[in-house]
């Protein structure tokens, strides 16, 4: 069963930007990577840090604002030192002007990477 929850309007987040959205106590980082939307858990798996305060680098990596470790946004995979534990991802749906998330499902890229 999928539970679609509204995240934000497409126009609210420009390509290359990341923002924080809190849904029922769960902090999410929502990304616009070249027009495609993604969502991950907002807290870095290494130290306490809000990834949405970081920067999208090298196309589709999020660099943590604290120790500059990186994760692959579509799959949540830990990519760069000091991150070693992968990041929880969430499945995102785009519907016309709106972006939704399913908090019960991983992103497709994450599932296929397993």
């Amino acid at each position: 069963m999928t539970t679609k929850v509204f995240l934000l309007k497409r126009e609210a987040l420009k390509p290359g930007e990341v923002t924080r959205v809190e849904l029922s106590g769960c902090p999410l980082a929502v990304y616009n990577v070249e027009g495609r939307f993604y969502a991950t858990h907002d807290i870095c798996t290494h130290a306490t840090a809000s990834l949405s305060e970081g920067e999208i680098v090298d196309g589709d990596l999020i660099a943590c604002p604290v120790h500059d470790g990186t994760f692959h946004i579509p799959s949540g995979q830990a990519m760069g030192h000091p991150c070693t534990v992968d990041l929880r991802t969430y499945r995102v749906f785009e519907d016309a002007e709106d972006v939704y998330v399913d908090l019960e499902s991983e992103a497709e890229e994450a599932s296929s990477a397993i």
């Binding site: 130290a47 840090a49 305060e53 660099a63 604002p65 604290v66 120790h67 500059d68």
Partner: protein, 468 residues
């Protein structure tokens, strides 16, 4: 602990010590009427400690050239005297500077000379700071928060003031210091000779060459502020090598000057290419001759003839440069008897690449550790310092009275102007400023000796019309 009571200048990141008392008997160390100066200025540790506080911690000090930090996140590390600082370009294009030390347990934050970064992370416990200096986080952050720590009060300590003049970025540790424009004052009129020949600005090319000289920092500063006199003798053999003859008899040139303002000084004649000629490269001379008429339209005849002339200059307290040779340098103090010399090559952005390359090689050949002129100077600088290890030796006063009574009052040139570049007027002005600062508890006690004539608007020039 009374000296650590808050002075009102404290920030969340730094508790400033109240200014210490000026050293007693300072006024006996220099006699400006006769040109007598005590050797203790080159040797005493007590004087040096006061200089760190009263000169360097409240003067405008050169940090970087704009061209070294083109993009947001670009940074370099340098020194403000013995304080190591990070200078970093912000996302909004402004420049900030911070002490290069972690406010947690004091380790050095970055060990790099420069680069591009999103943050500075301490090697010790992994505390992380943004390029804006804010503490962004650390491992085990929740433990610090549980301890009652307020993250916003533990950022990197920011240099109180950062400002630039035509590409040169300066910092000042004192929030109460006058503005950079006021500090440079009328000296900006002369700085434009080097920084604003054509409205297109300057740049540093190549890297920085660093070396150590065992001398007091004031010896080379005063050498560049106004001592062409030494060139006739010190550099005789180097001049024969580079020019095929002796240094010209500059003391016979009636059209030559010492000028100074607020302790900054420039000695020069108006021969256009005299300094440049010592690089032994006629293409550089041709370039200077080719741009001089356009510079004359922009800056007037006198300044256009200074662009590569026999000349040298220092900005108080420890930045110097040579027009024509295009070496640009800071004499970083390392105790009273040692300096770390940082040098760069400065050129007009608009100059052809081939000319820039020739200048880079020219500065290597003349004013680098193996350069023919720098080697001549280094030994003099070292022994002018070292002799004063002698307890009795340092009780013999030195002399800097050359050119007493040579001030010109009927001149259009701004600043204090003196006839004949073979002079020690700028030395005296430098030590006058030094004495004023050493005797002042804060900037409000520093006498305003020099009255500015130059207005900010005088330093903006119409662009030269392109010839059709």
């Amino acid at each position: 602990m009374t000296d650590h009571t808050c002075t009102g200048d404290c920030t969340p990141t730094l508790q400033r010590t109240r200014a210490s008392d000026p050293l007693p008997g300072l006024d006996k160390l220099v006699d400006f009427e006769t040109g007598k100066m005590s050797r203790r200025l080159y040797w005493d540790h007590a004087i040096y400690e006061q200089e760190l506080e009263k000169i360097f911690a409240r003067s405008w000090l050169f940090l970087a050239h704009d061209s070294q930090l083109p993009n947001p996140g670009d940074y370099l590390t340098t020194y403000m005297a013995e304080d190591n600082v990070i200078v970093v370009r912000q996302k909004d294009g402004s420049v900030k500077a911070f002490l290069n030390t972690c406010p947690h347990r004091g380790n050095k934050l970055t060990f790099a000379d420069g680069g591009n970064t999103r943050n500075f992370i301490c090697n010790y416990h992994g505390w992380s700071f943004g390029i804006d200096g804010a503490l962004r986080g650390m491992a085990g952050q929740e433990l610090f928060i549980a301890s009652g720590m307020d993250k916003s009060r533990h950022g990197m300590h920011e240099v109180a003031q950062v400002a630039s003049y035509k590409g040169l970025i300066f910092g000042n540790m004192d929030p109460n210091a006058p503005s950079l424009d006021e500090y440079l004052g009328d000296f900006r009129y002369y700085l434009d000779v080097m920084l604003d020949m054509d409205g297109q600005g300057t740049e540093f090319i190549g890297g920085s060459v660093k070396s150590v000289i065992n001398c007091n920092w004031k010896v080379p500063t005063e050498n560049f502020i106004g001592d062409i006199y030494h060139a006739l003798w010190t550099h005789d053999s180097a001049a024969h090598a580079m020019l095929g003859g002796p240094v010209s008899e500059v003391y016979k040139n009636p059209d030559s000057y010492h000028v100074n303002f607020n302790g900054h000084g420039w000695e020069f004649n108006t021969d256009i290419v005299g300094n440049a000629a010592t690089l032994g490269d006629k293409e550089i001379r041709k370039y200077l001759y080719s741009i001089q008429p356009q510079v004359a339209k922009r800056l007037g005849e006198v300044r256009s003839r200074m662009i590569g002339a026999i000349s040298s200059a220092s900005v108080f307290p420890n930045m110097s440069f040579l027009p024509g040779q295009n070496t640009f340098r800071v004499w970083q103090p390392r105790g009273p008897h040692k300096i770390e010399l940082h040098t760069w090559t400065i050129v007009n952005k608009s100059a052809p690449q081939e000319i820039k390359d020739r200048w880079r090689k020219g500065t290597m050949m003349t004013f680098s550790p193996s350069g023919v002129f720098e080697m001549d100077d280094g030994e003099n600088f070292e022994f002018s310092t070292r002799t004063n290890a002698g307890f009795v030796t340092r009780q013999q006063d030195m002399y800097m009275g050359l050119g007493l009574g040579s001030q010109l009052t009927d001149t259009d040139l701004p600043g204090n102007v003196f006839r004949n570049q073979v002079n020690e007027a700028n030395h005296r002005a430098f030590y006058r400023r030094w004495m004023d600062l050493m005797q002042a508890r804060d900037w409000s006690e520093v006498p305003r000796r020099d009255v500015p004539k130059v207005k900010d608007g005088d330093l903006v020039y119409p662009m030269a019309k392109e010839s059709v």
